[in-house]
Amino acid sequence: MLAIRGRIVPLSADRAVTPGELDGFVGTVWIGDDGMVSAVTRGRTATPAGFEAARVVDVGSSLVFPGLIDLHNHLAYNTLPLWTDPNRPADKPFLHHNTWPGARTYAADVTWPAYTFITASPEELLAYAETRAIVGGTTTIQGSPPKNRPRDGWVVRNAEDEKWGGRDANLVYASTLTLKPAGLADKAVRMRHGSSFIYHCSEGQAGTVVAQEFHDAQAAGCLQERFIAVHCNAVAPKAFSTWRKHGAVVWSPFSNMWLYGSTTNVPAAMEAGQTVCLGSDWGPSGTRSVLGELKVARLVSDDHGWGLSDSDLVRMVTSNPGDVLARSWKRQVGRLQPGSDGDVLVIRATRRADPFHALVNARERNVDLVVIGGRAQYGTPALMAAAGSTVTTALTVDGEARAMLLPRPDDPASPWEWHDVMARLEKVRSDPKRAIERGRLKQDAAMAAAYLARSRNGGGSWSSTSRPSASPPPTPLRLALDMPTGLAPLGGLPKTLTEIVVPPLAGLSHDREFLNSIVGRGYHRGLLDDLAGFYR
């Protein structure tokens, strides 16, 4: 049992917690052993029954939010820096999502390095990407790459993989690539049966051919309440109102501005009743986490005169996506109220700081504690210890010491040292060819061993003479890339693997290197340069 005491900003829909959804108060969030929020109480003295022995972590004037939700990402690519096509004129933004994969440099700059990591170090890659997310206060993220089995020891919740202890692995479907009508219709059926579908839809400049994708989705019956359309920046404003069973639009302003120089018409989507959420997209064209995306959303709203308030933006990373996911999960994240999941974010703030303004302006060094399912997953060493998470690994973020629960994939009882994760990724980066070849051999050998073991054991359930044997060797984690592969030889890779160059690993936070890499690049016409202003 864990309790977090401080300035609670619950974004609760439960009127018993707060009269107004945006209200905050000094109080305590009580999380039971089941990882669920049992109560949210006001003041510093009330203790719900049964929580007398709870470990109470008092964060003083710091703000206690629901954990942030990043509803659009591509984790396999988050070691990569921002990408531009050096051969494309600076005044010619890409038209839509089918144009930039055709850039000559795309495969070499994006696909090949990502392939290197998923092949040679899949566990470390996901550990890195999820750590970057939690460093930015994220507790749930979408966009984990296709994988052959669930990954043990995750750092943050994966939207597609979360089963909540049940057997249904298909609560959330996702597709990055454009589907044909039959595929969309299939997803429409699945949505009617209770699943959510996250679909990259109409990503591109307004008025381009990809706007048709929205209409194709409509024709296939997808415009339902469990349809989560990512981007939609090519969708005409009026089209949103045809989506009568209101669903969700995921907005990635940095990525849109970077690639297309324009972005989703968020006011139109909101006016049409769609729930707007934020997502940081991916390394080659996105922020490091939704903590950065909040700021970009602020910049875009101000620049476009949309009048989005800080609370509007905060909802886009908390209660909005939480409610959207609840439509299929049947569980609530993104709000702190009885019955919701105990995912909590503590943002360091002064007593008088406006909560929503503080969160929009927060840097990684302000992320003091992240709790997922009632367990302190990341935070300052002091708060992690206070919360009872002591078997941790140490890392430095934005100049400050942090501790994180990161179990070893081969030994969940032992901490995986962060420097080991980084050392492995750097080793892979230093010799991609060797790393890929070894990774392939290792995966293949493990799969062959598992295959042979199952064969020797009678080949599975059919055998009437199957011989009991020791457990088969664990299946190695295998990942697949989910983004376009770009122009490359058949097989997607260069003639010789020596041609593959992996760039230096992108940092975990919105550091100076990232901010400098924005200036004079991309198609945002300088708008994104102002992101640096939040980090002075």
């Binding site: 199952r454 599975g460 003479t465 030889p489 058949l490």
Partner: protein, 572 residues
Amino acid sequence: MADLSLHAAAAQRGMLLSDVLRRRRRLIPALGPGERLKVIDTLVPLLEGVYCHLPQKRAGYAVDPVQALRLLRQRCVELTDGEFHLAITGIITGLRDAHTRYVGPSGLRGRVATLPFLVESFGSYAAARFIVSKLAETADVEDPDFVEGVELVSWNFVPMSRAVDVYATQETGGRPDARRARALETLTFRSLDYGPPPDEHSVVVGFKVGRTLHEVRIPWRVVGIPPATMAKDPQVALKAGWNPAAESVRKAKKLMFAPAAWDAQRLEGAKRKAPQRKTSAPEPDSAPAASPVVGSGAAVGGWIASSLPDVLSARTVPTKRGDVGYLRIWSFDVDDHEAFVTEVRRLLQELPQDRLIVDLRANPGGLIWAAERSLQLFTDEMIRPTRFSLLATPVTRAMAESAFNRLELDAWVESLTDAVSTGEVYSQPIALTDPAWCRDIGRTYPGAAVLVVDPNTYSSGDLFSAGWADHGIGPLVSVGQATGAGGANVWDDLQLSEALTGTAYEFDPLPDGIHFTMAIRRAIRSGRSDGVPIEDLGIRGIPYALTRRDLMEGNRDLHNFCAQTLHDWASS
């Protein structure tokens, strides 16, 4: 060196087949009824949904392996274990496709049954004569008159020609000449991974010494040869075009007739840690290329040292028209196509620059990239690589659409999807070798070159031959009617299982170490024969019948014929 010889000698000796079979019966439990059903129920949907030659085999041989397996399923429980495996083997072998094989129970994995001699034929197909072209040092042959060069007249009391053709019915090979060639290749060397052991424990061979008929009884022995594996790198292995059984046999022949080279390679393999092969000059303790594996009376000595002695040999050969360069490509079984092409290029530069014989006889295939990229070294013409297509079925569609197969199969997704409405039997054919890779080096050999093939030139050997013919690189001489006609890219069951994992068609491993290989993507020629399949047809050339002198005197007549052919080609 004494240790190496002892090791090689022990490996050569192996064990008597009779002893191995006796032990095997104790080690290998029979398949239960459920397991037999599983074998059949796994193979049927894969043959129907993935096997790329199914329509062609049904048409060409009036066979239907799917129906045959369904019929077998009804009676499989009543069969003995041996009958069951033989029945499956017979159905699969009946496809006449060396790419598609049933690999029986694991008790005989990695073994090759051997007799200590090679049988080769000379003369025309209709009037073939059979001789012992190579004889290893062995105590198993008690008749001192049984030497290299003797003509064989009977095999287990059956006239030789008849005996070979009867055995050929158990072998793959579409055309009669291909079946006979395959039969001769495995008459005395049988990979037990891909076929049953010989019925007899010993053979009684009738041979002539002058006019006198002799008979000698020779026992079968079993040697250990690690199962042939195509490329260590699993992604590279998906680009394999080879006859795995022939590759095992090739290695067994190397052990038998070039034990020093076999031993040197064994040591080299033990030292090798990284997947890629060295491209530097061979180390002193490795066997020089002067001991080529096997071949029709290949000579020893005078070979240029090669960093890839297992797959490449080169030297100058004398002919009636003067010295001619000679490059033997034994196999394309390499991990590193760049190293292979680099080494071929280097060898070419050391040979006479005006005339060249490229010998691909008995090349069982290997890495498609190695074969196709090498073609550019011989011509100024832009090489258009062979293209490959998948059978258009729900299974291949699901396989191609899987996220894990995007890099490998994504290019075929669109045409596989369109095939639903167009009724196309196959997907669009797409090259496995990037065309840019086939012209990134350019011509190295300036002179005229002739390619020599035979019905055991298979798979990637077929592709190389097709490219040679279809781009008019030079004349093509064919011992027999044509190449072996292996027109596909082949995967094994593990590769196929991985590719189908996560789809509605994923399957469990077959029980008890049973495996299979299957032709997955069908090869279609390009250039002058654009659109023509390779399977069952092969690549035809100028016909040539080997002479006795070829077999016993280092291909002398063949070399002369090639030199004359080059002369005629240049004059025409």
